[in-house]
């Protein structure tokens, strides 16, 4: 059975421009999409690419721990949304739903609304701005290679965009985590201390817990409102 270093060695071709491209796509999905399953999947893939890039800067074990923290965060988000969806379904079954409204909603899911188009455009603009920033103000080359520098700028920029465009706690939490992952990708190279790694991991995990807590409160609040109606 292949060990972790073997697996990483086999996938090492991803730890350069393909990983940056993966981060660009996943972060833009977070900007555009409001479908929680897709967003959580994008975050999982994003953490994978971040870990691949980190293996070039720090020890594999430390990068793997960072990846584990990220995937645990995704698990927390998944469980919260799953539970919330069950609650919402239970409330919906107790209230009569018009069939036309249901089919209209399923249609809307697959059409590009004006809002989605705007978010996509904003995401692309920020991506271009991040590319220009990486060219004009590259992070110190002696510690960060140019492609990782671009990945950092992309995640910080798109993370801030997600925060700015989002209303729900979970979406804002994902934006914050993308922003923090972008910064972390840079900071692990300049401060490889294990305590700092642990504390930044704790910060990320607590942000995820806070976002999930608020999302759960939102579910309870909307359930009470619908129940009262």
């Amino acid at each position: 059975m292949p060990t972790l270093p073997d697996l990483v060695a086999r996938l090492s071709f991803l730890a350069a421009i393909p990983a940056v491209a993966g981060i660009l796509i996943t972060a833009n999905i977070l900007v555009v999409s409001r479908e929680w399953r897709l967003n959580i999947f994008a975050l999982i893939v994003q953490y994978f690419f971040v870990v691949m890039l980190m293996t070039r800067l720090i020890r594999l074990e430390v990068a793997a721990i960072k990846g584990l923290i990220g995937w645990m965060i995704c698990m927390v988000f998944y469980l919260t949304e799953r539970r919330g969806a069950d609650l919402a379904r239970a409330v919906r079954t107790s209230v009569e739903v018009q069939p036309e409204a249901g089919s209209a909603r399923s249609w809307q899911r697959w059409t590009m609304t004006a809002r989605t188009a705007f978010y996509l455009l904003a995401g692309l603009l920020v991506s271009v701005a991040a590319y220009m920033a990486a060219l004009r103000f590259p992070l110190p080359r002696e510690v960060i290679p140019p492609d990782i520098s671009l990945a950092c700028y992309l995640m910080v920029g798109l993370g801030l965009l997600v925060i700015g465009l989002s209303e729900t706690p979970m979406q804002v939490g994902m934006g914050l985590l993308t922003f923090l992952a972008g910064f972390d990708l840079f900071y692990v190279a300049v401060e490889p201390s294990l305590v700092v790694v642990g504390l930044i991991g704790a910060v990320s995990f607590l942000i995820a817990l806070a976002a999930s807590f608020l999302r759960a409160a939102q579910f309870v609040s909307s359930e009470q409102t619908e129940g009262a109606e």
Binding site: P169, V203, F213
Partner: protein
């Protein structure tokens, strides 16, 4: 033998566990929290730093003994122990006010967790770890801000967002300063650090244009928890800023520091003073009043004098009384108006909730810095200092105080309005529904407020010790 830093870090965590178990019973939780916070404050203030003291049985404690924790040094210096005492006393005030508050949240256990992290922020060296502790504490505070029965706290989420954005700046500053020590010729590292640090602390303190989380914090969060975050944990940010300025003398001696803080403070004062009277709801009024307070504190720092430092430290000690009272009042008013705090919902609530209304108005007096409020103690010394050096700023501060009073007056007019129809007037019961214990807690806090306002010299030995221990601006 126990080292003081470890005791100050672990005891709050222990109390957090106990109050979490007792959280179903509000009175024992509040009594335990208030009494323990007072006891820890007295211990931090009175115990000697350099020699062991027997505390319980044969157990000895050395308050100033340095400790290595996860390879990092925890040191309790004179300034830190006074700051710790200030944290415990101010948190005791908020815990006491939270005793009879209507909204339910995880304030008591999370508050103790925040206190433990706050002590960590003050004691850990280097500051890079303090920045991470601050961020952990902010994420934790969201759990206290969300009330059990209320809507989702957008203010709490915004607070978390702005604080997370502040984290990279502080961490990178630490790295840049380390690089500067190795290559002192590269002076751009210092200027970049100064800019990053200014932005990071502006985000953490809610300086314009990063202020939007402060009014939002009272809009949909538990108000008393909001007061805890803004006063007790806000003081931690202030102490961290002072420690940073003291540690890096090039930064405190920077020629732009004074004008930067004065102008940032002035903008906050103008913003808060202008928007406070325009508010239809009471909750943003508390937020804009806080902005005026924050602005005045920045102006006090910008004076770069001992008088400014005295005003700033006095503000840190007294603002939990004013803001806490206002938050308690807001909480009570909301509870008696079906969760509303705007013009129509407030009509006549003052007659049903007279103690909440009293707490809100007199707490507002303190936030505005007017006589009979605890805030008057430090505003007066600031006005006197500004009268000599910068009378224009003093006049603007007074106008901003008038703006906050205008907002209070508007709110009070709605609160004390009688229903228009004579038959509807009978719906008001002659007696209050707030309860004697609520009235007692408001009365005690009001009494403290008035005593601090009339006799600020009661706090002056403590403040003098803090100013003497801090080498800043001397």
């Amino acid at each position: 033998m126990i080292a003081g830093p470890i005791a100050l870090l672990l005891l709050p965590l222990l109390v957090a566990g106990v109050v979490l178990l007792l959280s179903r019973w509000r009175t024992p939780t509040a009594v335990l929290s208030t009494a323990t916070a007072l006891a820890l404050g007295v211990a931090a203030l009175a115990l000697p730093v350099d020699r062991p003291v027997k505390v319980w049985g044969g157990l000895q404690i050395v308050l100033g003994a340095p400790v290595s924790f996860l390879g990092r040094e925890l040191v309790l210096e004179e300034t830190d122990r006074l700051a710790c005492a200030a944290l415990f006393f101010t948190s005791a005030i908020i815990f006491f006010l939270a005793w009879r508050s209507y909204s339910r949240s995880l304030l008591f256990p999370v508050g103790w967790g925040l206190l433990s992290l706050s002590v960590g922020v003050l004691l850990v060296k280097p500051f890079v770890y303090a920045a991470l502790f601050i961020e952990i504490a902010v994420a934790l505070s969201v759990f206290a801000l969300q009330s059990e029965e209320g809507p989702v706290t957008r203010g709490g989420m915004r607070y978390l967002t702005f604080s997370t954005m502040a984290l990279p700046g502080i961490l990178v500053t630490h790295w840049l300063l380390e690089r500067y020590e190795a290559t002192p010729d590269e002076t751009w590292l210092l200027s970049t650090s100064a800019v990053l640090l200014a932005i990071s602390f502006a985000l953490l303190l809610g300086v314009f244009p990063f202020h939007s989380w402060i009014p939002a914090l009272f809009g949909d969060s538990s108000p008393v928890a909001g007061a805890f975050v803004l006063t007790v944990f806000g003081n931690v940010i202030w102490f961290a800023l002072l420690e940073f300025l003291e540690a890096y003398s090039w930064l405190s001696a920077h020629p732009s520091l004074s004008s930067l803080t004065l102008n940032a403070g002035l903008v906050l004062v103008l913003l808060g003073g202008t928007l406070a009277p325009a508010q239809r709801r009471l909750s943003p009024l508390v937020g804009y009043g806080t902005l005026v307070e924050n602005g005045a504190m920045l102006i006090a720092l910008g004076l770069r004098s001992e008088v400014g430092m005295v005003s700033l430290l006095l503000a840190m000690l007294t603002r939990p009384l004013g803001l806490g009272l206002m938050a308690l009042g807001l909480d009570g008013i909301r509870a008696h108006s079906g969760g509303k705090d705007d013009g129509e919902g407030l009509r006549g609530v003052g007659w049903r909730a007279p103690w909440s209304t009293t707490a809100f108005v007199l707490g507002g007096l303190s936030v505005a810095g007017l006589p009979l409020g605890a805030g008057f103690a430090w505003r007066w010394s600031l006005y006197r200092a500004l009268a000599d050096t910068d009378p224009g700023t003093m006049v603007l501060l007074l106008l901003a105080a008038a703006g906050v009073m205008g907002g209070l007056w508007r709110g009070m007019a709605s609160l004390l309005e009688r229903p228009r129809l004579p038959e509807a007037r009978s719906v008001f019961p002659p007696a209050t529904r707030e309860g004697k214990l609520f009235a007692l807690s408001v009365l005690i806090a009001l009494l403290l407020c008035v005593v601090v306002s009339i006799y600020p010299q009661l706090l002056s030995p403590w403040v003098t010790r803090m100013v003497d221990a801090c080498a800043l601006f001397r």
